[in-house]
């Protein structure tokens, strides 16, 4: 008898790929799913459950289902991808220097004049005078 395809393995792996691939283009765009990437964790969890179920039937009912070798490879890749995701979220993302040197609340903000992308020079003292407040956002750059 021909053994059946083990669709759970593929479905689980696709969810894991989605868990990795959707963070930057979709879920990192919104603060609610960015700061704690819970949607991506859910996708990983769902993918993991399907992979475990698929592996169980591949090894438990080998006469009925395929996927012992392929399932093991997909599960191994999934674990690697999850580890990579965690490495980025918990290590790379926090690899910035401590803030001890930063200017403090209560200090006066150092004045500056810098060029905007349209060529116009912008100075903090002008901006401060013409508004009730100025918010400076420091970016890492190199997009």
């Amino acid at each position: 008898m021909k053994r059946r395809h083990n669709i759970l393995l593929w479905a689980g792996f696709v969810l894991v790929l989605l868990a990795v691939g959707t963070y930057i283009p979709i879920f990192a765009v919104y603060a609610a799913t960015r700061d704690v990437p819970w949607v991506n964790y859910l996708l990983f969890a769902a993918g993991g459950v399907l992979l475990v179920l698929g592996l169980r039937r591949a090894f438990g009912q080998p006469k009925l289902y395929r996927g012992k070798v392929l399932g093991s490879i997909l599960a191994g890749l999934s674990v690697l991808l999850f580890a990579l995701f965690c490495f980025v979220i918990f290590y790379i993302s926090k690899a910035i220097p401590a803030s001890e040197t930063a200017v403090r609340v209560g200090q006066s903000a150092p004045d500056f004049t810098l060029a905007n992308w349209d060529g116009k020079q912008v100075s903090l003292s002008d901006a401060v005078q013409n508004n009730r407040a100025v918010v400076l956002i420091f970016y890492r750059g190199y997009w």
Binding site: F112, W117, V134
Partner: protein, 103 residues
Amino acid sequence: MNDFNQRHIEIAAISVDSTENSRKLSQAKGYTFPVLSDPNADVIRRYGLLHPKGGEDGQDIARPAEILIDATGTIRWENLTDDLRVRARPGQVLEAFDSSIGK
């Protein structure tokens, strides 16, 4: 953005990117606030926000930060994140303004 305009809060971004790269970024994202170039990180350094060799090719760049400055030039609030994914939300900045400088 409207909430900021209503309160007369000006926003300005600063990075080490060239004006050319900042132009591309601003136009791609539709930013209506200035994105200023500090190519040698002089201003970033003066604010104590340097991330030495933090760039992809080992350049000195800025660490992420948001700083609220009042009309006298005094820093009233700041957000120095320890996680570069986690930036201040606009609501946090508005709240800081409302509670420190006033509506």
